[in-house]
Amino acid sequence: MNITNEIETDAPAQKPMNENLHRLFVAQLAEMYDAEKKLALALPIVAKAARSEDLKKLVEVHLKETEGHATTIRMVAESLGVELPDRTCKAMRALIKEAVVSLAKHATSPVLDIALIAAAQKIEHYEIAAYGTLCAWATEMGHTSELALLTSTLRQERTADELLTGVAQHTAPLEELIKKHILTRATADMKP
């Protein structure tokens, strides 16, 4: 407990060699902030286009989470006492563009949902990689409370990806998938 507090208050002075990593961390945070905001604008279009009720519901739930992720990034920045620079996430822009093109192309096709799920999973994987990196850097720099915030986002991105796989495979209705997922996660969390 004491150690944690010490690291949090003394971190910048204690680890000057991480200055470059700190700058990279802030830049990546800013990029993800832009990515999440872009995604929050795109997801309602996907939800509206989706044919199956489960996919629609899942995208709507993830839209709420996505809005929360943007807030979380602002909280991380505040807690570090940094201002986020203006950055554009080109990769997210390209991923969304690809998703929208695919949506338009398959708008009347029976494979629309399948195509939407594929596009959404590419986006989720982008975010899983990005937050995975941010969490690793937060750990490295001893930003404990920021790590907790970023980890909760990373978990939601992973869950969204897994639920998309479940909806694609029609293994069970969404609600059952969610219940099963919460149980699995709770058991996994209990392990040391």
């Binding site: 990279l24 994987h125 899983i128």
Partner: protein
């Protein structure tokens, strides 16, 4: 009346058959489109990876990128094989997402030139690329399975495993370098 009923039923069953046929024809086309996207993505990557290997500071990272370059060249060959097993001509279509990912990676490399955080940045960019591929191969593999393309499932599964292993290797390298600096 009876006749009409029979006709209606007849038309319904034809409709649903048509829909099933249309579904599999369209899934097949979606599958081919995604393969074309991946073939282009992998080819773009074979050009980007040597630059990343050159920019890497640690020997371990440079080596991991070079070994993944070899795998990536192999993935190109494997995708062409998948087209062959389907009796389809190999096609390539510009993958805008990979283009965006690589562009972002090059900008990051430029920004971090001479910085001690260059390897951390390279690993981050590379893992985004790996995750893009994991999602794509995951989708095409699932579709191949759904359509009963056994050989394609095997080939795509091999690549998927290599992409996942490459991602894990990058995490390992990141952790080792963090530990050695601590």
């Amino acid at each position: 009346m009876k006749q009409t009923e029979k006709n209606t039923r007849g038309r319904n069953s034809t409709e649903s058959e048509n829909e099933g046929g249309e579904m599999s024809a369209e899934l097949h086309q979606l599958f081919l489109d995604e393969l074309a996207d991946l073939l282009n993505a992998e080819t773009q990557l074979t050009k980007a990876l040597p630059k990343m290997a050159k920019a890497a500071q640690s020997q371990d990272l440079a080596e991991a990128i070079r070994s993944h370059l070899e795998e990536t060249e192999n993935h190109v060959t494997r995708l062409k094989e998948v087209f062959e097993t389907l009796n389809e001509k190999a096609k390539s279509k510009t993958c805008k997402a990979m283009k965006g990912l690589i562009e972002e990676g090059s900008e990051l490399m430029e920004e971090l030139k001479g910085s001690s955080a260059i390897d951390a940045g390279l690993i981050a960019a590379a893992q985004k690329v790996e995750h893009y591929e994991i999602a794509s191969y995951g989708a095409v593999r699932a579709w191949a399975e759904q359509m009963g393309h056994t050989e394609a499932v095997e080939l795509l599964g091999e690549t998927l495993d290599e992409e996942k292993a490459a991602d894990e290797k990058l995490t390992e390298i990141a952790q080792e370098s963090a530990n050695s600096q601590a």
